[in-house]
Symmetry: D2
Subunit: 421 residues, 4 copies
């Protein structure tokens, strides 16, 4: 930003070309160590930076360094540029990579029947690919939102209180001057700033990162639950030398999925810090001075989660045997839905209640629901009117997957194309 400023000063005819060259060299040479040392002396971070740059240029160039700028004319656009950068060049690519891995599994397992679960209870069947397709769609949506929000981060070069007091001393068109300086960093100005950029654009970006983190945590929770000893439908791959527990040699713990959830616990509450930092009295107070410096950690935790989940999902083991075993676990209880729906459509006035009582009977008598239904005289009438496909479901619940397989493929292919994977 200090360099961008001098460049535009030159283009505007305020300073000679040598000033640009000197500042360019000075900026490339200045070290964080010397800035910290100067800050220790004068207790002001940006003035310390300015002093260090000025110490490296000629007397003639000195006046043009930081000219007209207040500290946040430098800090705020620099922050906007680096958040934009990290989102566009690190976070989004990490997510696209993760998305690619999940899309691959979605396509591969699009037809793998799995019992659908609500409330942790067996509901009706889906496919494992379909279960993942939901995450393809949700992560995809968040990638799109992140791209838009990062691109919208504005800059400012409007001086100490946002009214262009300083630049107005030198230019008829201080807003145009601001536009030119910010363009050097690929930014456009905020519509109206104070000493600082209005915080909303950044707040929205960080909120979206928290939302993204929630999607990843949800995926991790699902995988972790599917890895429970009793369910065993998926598993994190273990390396040959990997230890699961310091005392129980048999343990294979879902530590990577647990980690994604734990990072979410770090990120989400910090959104409150971000929302608190949104408020700044009058033309700015600095009660966000320390806290705003912790916001980049939110991005870092999100990037970490994405990368670690990518590695973990890449090696995800799907246990088709257990998937099948679990599907059969309820002895056909999972066909209660079609068995009440079809009679309803055929005119039964209260099929839901009828079938509810039959499922209770099946459980009480430990018999397959199919058997109990067939034996029931009232149901008989409706069974006779069913189509062959509807009758088949009764014996083979795996047929009752709706359009899970097709949907998994459509969603996966759509995002593959959108993200150019």
């Amino acid at each position: 930003m200090e360099l961008a400023l001098v460049r535009v000063l030159y283009r505007r005819g305020i300073c000679p070309e040598t000033a640009v060259k000197e500042v360019e060299i000075a900026c490339s040479q200045v070290t964080t160590e010397e800035v910290y040392e100067e800050e220790d002396r004068i207790r002001h971070d940006i003035r310390a930076l300015v002093n260090c740059i000025r110490a490296k240029v000629s007397e003639n160039t000195k006046p043009y360094v930081h000219m007209m700028a207040t500290s946040n004319d430098i800090i705020d656009p620099a922050n906007a540029a680096r958040y934009k950068d990290v989102v566009q060049k690190v976070l989004v690519p990490s997510l696209v990579q993760l998305e690619g891995v999940i899309i691959d599994i979605t396509l591969r397992e699009a037809d793998t029947v799995q019992i659908g679960r609500t409330h942790g209870q067996h509901a009706v069947p889906i496919t494992f690919g379909f279960a993942l397709a939901g995450y393809v769609s949700r992560i995809g949506g968040s990638i799109k939102a992140l791209k838009t929000l990062a691109a919208e981060l504005p800059g400012k070069f409007s001086g100490a209180v946002g009214a262009y007091n300083a630049s107005s001393l030198f230019f008829e068109d201080p807003e145009m001057f601001e536009t030119e300086v910010l363009a050097e960093l690929g930014l456009t100005p905020a519509e109206c700033s104070t000493q600082v950029i209005p915080p909303e654009a950044m707040t929205r970006l960080l909120c979206e990162i928290a939302i993204l983190s929630g999607i990843l945590a949800n995926l991790a929770d699902d995988m972790r639950n599917l890895q429970r000893t009793e369910i065993g439908e998926v598993g994190e791959e273990f390396e040959a030398a990997q230890v699961g527990s310091s005392t129980m040699p048999q343990k294979r713990n879902p530590i990577n999925f647990e980690n994604a959830k734990s990072c979410w616990k770090i990120i989400v509450p910090r959104i409150v810090t971000v929302l608190m930092d949104q408020i700044s009295e009058h033309q700015r107070d600095m009660t966000n001075g320390a806290s705003i410096r912790t916001h980049p950690e939110i991005v870092a935790y999100a990037v970490h989660t994405a990368k670690r989940l990518t590695r973990t999902m890449q090696k995800l083991k799907v246990d088709h045997e257990n998937l099948q075993k679990n599907l059969e676990m309820t002895n056909g209880g999972i066909i209660a839905e079609p068995m009440q729906l079809i009679p309803s459509a055929l005119g039964h006035p209260d099929a839901h209640e009828k079938v509810r009582l039959l499922t209770l009977q099946a459980q009480r008598e430990k018999r397959p629901l199919e058997e109990v239904i067939i034996a029931d005289s009232e149901m008989q009438t409706y069974l006779e009117k069913m189509t062959p496909y509807q009758r088949q479901i009764l014996s083979n619940p795996a047929l009752y997957i709706g359009i899970a397989d097709k949907k998994a493929k459509t969603v996966a292919e759509r995002w593959k194309k959108k993200l150019e994977l």
Copy 2:
């Protein structure tokens, strides 16, 4: 939603027209009391609603009520529709009204010089209209975001686990059927749902409401501080009979601005509840069953804040006398910025440090900064080279407002047009 469903069932030729008419009447007659009574009996809210509707229709119509639907095929689109409604018809209009009031003050006070403040310390001058223009821009931006996010709330009618298991029994094109049902409520389907709509769209909307609430709280904080006894630049109007304190009869407390801040303290932490509710295991768990019912309170607090702030800002008293008094308070200290900038531009190698020492001298000797600067021999050279306007600032800091007045007007007029005020 129950009615929308039957309407499309009829259009699809599944049920007769009489079913639509009967359900229409039943829905208009069903009372919350009877639904709660039925819920007490069967412990399921939507089934209770369904039973109540069914009790009011003929045996022939009964099977078509709630046909193929899981509870959240009803609840979730209904919620999407009512949040969309309340944002579009209540929250946004309240904000537009508030925006109108602030725009009026901005235009009226666009030229009213006020000392700009950073860190609660006098910085350089702005105008009071300019101070408000920042809020016009920020609130305007949030109104825009709220409109977009509300319009994007999706619906779903994809059954118990999102795979259209039930509707696939009856339709070749269950996704088209879903689209038709949702269109009845002005909604479009989520790309991929489970038992529930993916929560991100709603989460984004509620995050934006928290962000909006932060802007309003910031405005309220500013006004409240300007109302401090020692500052006194603005004041909430007091009614003739209004009591400020039960023991101190002279008190005029900024209770309405305090209220806006307090509502922000209610809203912001609840975003964590919203972000927690984003996670739902597998095709859904119901650990958000109670908490999701508190989210509408977030909207209510935001609407309340907007309405109360509107009333308060409408009657805001601006004390021009105190504005002037405060501007003069630092004895010209606020011109230190131009007094270092101009010499810098004229070639002084370290004008910032030079003027810093002069301000210390002025404070020590309790003399106007102007006087100390004029008396300084080094500064003399630069004073001589200044333009008449630059010299004028030295005696009259009120001239050093940059483009505050112009900017206030531009921003206010732009939003007036955008919001058709």
Copy 3:
């Protein structure tokens, strides 16, 4: 509080006994409706209350109503008293009742062997009673903390800014006067107050309620997971007419345990509101005016959770068959710990690694770990040196429960006695 004040004024000889009687009657007659009506007129809640009381007493008594008091001399002690009350008379008794129910199950199931789980993976055995004993201990500890914190809530009667300005006009010993007034409500004064009571005591109490809520949510999560279709070790009792799903008649959802978790999601983030409300500028600002009125909801949600969990736990079904089935699920993998520990103690230099490889072998070959161990020549030496009990564990992992049974009983009995159950 208004009555307490007049009582002490009388005892101090400031007002006649008739004043006490008149205020006593007035206080018993004043209605919320009339106070709200008056508040609408004068926009001050406590002054409205005072006016309503005054309107019901004679001219002679009028001056003594609210005499020397600032609003928060009334509000704050009243709040302290009612929070103390609700904790001591509602929340703690609800928790004691819940604790009683859990203690009963703990004792009943103290010897019921259950597989212990870490990371959702089978670890080594415990008993179901032992699993609950941890909650007995944790809830017990929170009950104790709540009692202490509620008893410590202080009061104040120190006037508009806490310096006893008003009461000093009339008394030599205003602090003693404060002590006497507060004693009427069973409170003692804060060491030093402003217009308000220092918020820390209340904040600590509300934090403890959030902590308690976390314990209850943890218990609910455990029970909910044990109720998964694949685990099935416990179940919420379903009533005969109860509906689990509006479309899947077979569903038995853990809605009560889900509800406890959901209430926790409501409570926990609100602690941030409480912590925000802790800050009040100078002798008080009122940016907590609205938010502080939502704090009682935290108590209400906690009471609700306790009561609902009590009802649910009372009817908890424990499925001993599934407990046994799950215990055997890993084919003896759960004895890896003792099988590495005993050889270690017998001098094996790296038994953990040895047994880790054997568990991998057993899983690969789908053989019981016992079999693989016995067949291993290196292990042979150690097997021979084992005590009979240690050998027995190899065949019967259910013996490897440590002191789970004994501990469950001790902890349960200890709290039964402490809470006089």
Copy 4:
């Protein structure tokens, strides 16, 4: 902890004395670098530590390293011990030092009259020492709470699921063995643990740190507001070379007080992470694996805040001139309270309303309230009945400080003694 374990194994006769010596040396030699390297290989932190220790001892000693321990038998007590340590040896001493500095100012300024403020509006007078005494009391209370809570942090050595499965293989009294091991670190066992220590004690400690941080932020807010240009009652000392703004040389910003508030914004939301980490499924999950590692940052920010505030308060400048100027600012408006109270006590039936109207008149006519009161015929009667002291207040509001001066001294002296300062 690894050493503590071997020591007790020796005392119990399980291992030879040489094992203790070898482990002692090994523990003193093991480096973090080598542990991290081993962790990279086996992906388990504590097993890596164990391997590194084992690599440094003889074959004979190897089996006793980590014997019977699960990872959290090591991690959890170690954490308890280090949190206890940092609170007792770093945080509390920092706070005691800060308390000492505030006590000194409190005593020095106990008689310095300052206008009391509520809602940011002038209320009735106090003394500056009294304003600080409130913080002496609140910080003192938090120091006391921190000491208690740190001392109460429990330990555990109960094995993989808390049931002493492993240690029961070797000892009749595994709980006594646990007590002995923990005693080596100055800890006592939790009443009942799982794989981990029940989290409540640590959660309470961290909540108290958030509460403490709120007290410090409140103090910082007060000081920062008193430093506003228009109020100017206190100021942070500026060093000779210190720069306030990179563009406005005259600025003296309250950056240290702003920093304390900013640290509070970091700390408070993280309490939600702590409360989230309280929940761990069954005998433990590890969804707190990453997040629990950020909790020590909470302590670090609190220590930083305490130390920085100490330095800032040590150099706090109190401006007695501005204190006096502000006291007189309302032209006597601040005596409205005694002027309504005394007539009330003398029998005026509605003195509050009477004086409220007089203050409005005084403001309207820009006359001192004293003058308006004296000129009012109705007030005349009451003025005649006032004591000389009561009459004096009318002319000299500085007399109306209640017992602020005395209270400031009592509170300060009490804590000076309690904390042995």
